[in-house]
Amino acid sequence: MRLLKYFPLAVENIAVRKLRSFLTMLGVIIGVASVLTTLGIGRGASADIMQDIASEGLTLLIVESGTNSDQTWTSGQPLTMADVAALSDPSLHPDIVQAVPLYRQYIHLGTGNTSRFIEVVGTTPAYAAIHNLELTQGRFLTEQEIAQRTKSVVIGADVAQWQFAGADAVGKSLRITNEPYTVVGVLRKRGWDRFGNMDIRAVIPLAVAQDRLRSTSPAHRHRGEYTVSEIHVNAVSIERLDAAARQVEQTLRLRRVLTEDEPNDFNIDNQAWLLETANSVAATLTAFLAGIGAISLLVGGIGIMNIMLVSVTERTSEIGLRKAVGAHNRDILLQFLVEALMLTLVGGLIGIAISYGLAEIVKSFSSPDFPLVVLIEPGSLAAALSVSAVCGLLFGLYPAIRATRLDPIEALRHE
């Protein structure tokens, strides 16, 4: 309760020293705003990067026939459309969103010197979704084209460049193993990933590939079912990835009638390495941001320290006078405490307001190609506020404590 009487005094003292109060608050404002804005931009960027990495298919399981252990490849029974159908049963595979079959073949495009080796992938429209394929022209394959076995093809950026020299490819014809396919779309240039070079690829309806691109390996049919080269299984989330893998394993082992002591004759691969990369990128970014945050807090803190030291030294004679007429040391300390608290808290709140304003301005420069997100997190908010408050109190109180140790006459003589 006795603290209350220092509030009007603090308000008066702050109001009466407008420049000093403003400069003190400015230190806090700059400290808080710079920490929040730099951390916010950094967090936004890292969230954006994480999202990019996540879109690379962290939830994907790649199922292949055969096993690869100790660098020796052991073949297994081929995967078939019946396996795909089985994995598509949601009641047995609650953690699987969908299972997408792939049938691939490598072929020569063109003849003679100009011929190029490309990868033809037969699949379904879901393939585009789970691999986040983007198109620069046209569209991806439709369900209708799959069902009707239309000879439509979506081509990679390099294939489009070779065949059509950058001209509009949609509607043009492309010969694959001497049969004409109609180009319906061109993929955005993407480069290499875990699945090879997306840019030298041609994607056609699954059944067309199985029918037209016959090969001996894998066998074209197995137990009357069309075979597939890979099944790409999309799990519901990164957290459920292992559970999804177990569900796939269980189903396939059952379907292959493997006894308990027989090993898998298929391989379930995930992109855990990608997750590791993502996590290490995130850790690096976090450390980097923490460094930037610490530096701006330090700069803000030094600013607060300077103005507090200057202004309180200036006020040593005020402290001397107050002591002379009856202020106990506690009275002086409470006065300076309340003043410093008010200045730093008001400055901190203004700093927060400014950083939100800056966040809006930064966001307005954002575009789809160059996304700018500013994420102001409660953690950095609390850190910025508490550090500036601590700085204000520490550097506001320390000189006051020093001054109270003096005899009033010494403090009064202080220039």
Partner: protein, 237 residues
């Protein structure tokens, strides 16, 4: 027959300032006793140690050597808290340099001792305005020091010294910045309080003002060279 103990008793008081490697003795071996209700003038040339003495008596400074007893208590044994409380409740101090807060109004300056004495805001305001009125500054209550003349500032400092109704007033040249007429009024105010029991110790250069006191202590080079008591002026009929 033993009367009440003396208000102030100093024995062999020395105050030394160290300036570089030389020691400057502002007070040398001063011994004095001042009783309750005395009216004392302290005179002496500039630099003779008057302010130094007053600061020590006012518990604003400490002697280098010697003892200072205030109401039989050794000031050297008092805690910082006790010294502060005594300054606040018992001692009114008028600084030679006034020492006003740079940015506070006259009323706030006069309220200051009351703020630390825990007097309510309303009562503080009333008493501060009353003290300002007594020094003729009723119409300057809301002025800040930079809006006041030197003499007006000095009177604000006097109002602040009297506002807490102290029992001892230590005034360091309280009329130094004001004209004779206003000086008369201020002295009349002090003497009015003196009649009500206030012990007065006034440092002055002004012979006429010194002549009003019942005792004149003269300092030279930090030592008391004369201490003369005079009979009470003939009481007005």
């Amino acid at each position: 027959m033993t009367g009440p103990p003396p208000l102030i008793e100093i024995r062999n008081l020395t105050r030394t300032y160290n300036i570089g490697r030389t020691a400057l003795h502002a007070l040398k071996n001063v011994s004095l006793t001042i009783e309750h209700g005395e009216y004392v003038a302290v005179v002496g040339t500039s630099g003779s140690g008057k302010s130094t003495l007053l600061n020590i008596l006012g518990l604003l400074d400490r002697p280098t050597e010697g003892t200072y007893n205030i109401r039989k208590q050794d000031a050297g044994d008092l805690t910082d808290r006790q010294r502060t409380t005594l300054r606040n409740r018992e001692i009114g101090f008028v600084f030679q340099e006034f020492n006003l807060l740079a940015r506070a109004t006259a009323r706030r300056q006069a309220e200051l001792p009351l703020f630390y004495a825990g007097v309510s805001r309303k009562e503080s305001r009333r008493r501060a305005l009353n003290a300002l009125a007594q020094v003729g500054l009723a119409d300057r209550a809301d002025h800040r020091p930079e809006e006041l003349s030197g003499g007006q500032r000095q009177r604000v400092a006097i109002a602040r010294a009297l506002v807490n109704s102290p029992s001892l007033l230590l005034a360091d040249e309280p009329t130094g910045a004001i004209d004779t007429q206003t000086g008369e009024e201020v002295m009349a105010l002090f003497e009015q309080r003196h009649l009500e029991g206030l012990t007065l110790l006034i440092v002055t250069h002004d012979r006429e003002i010194a002549a009003r006191a019942r005792r004149i202590i003269t300092l030279r080079d930090g030592a008391v060279i004369s201490d003369e008591r005079r009979p009470a002026p003939a009481a007005a009929p």
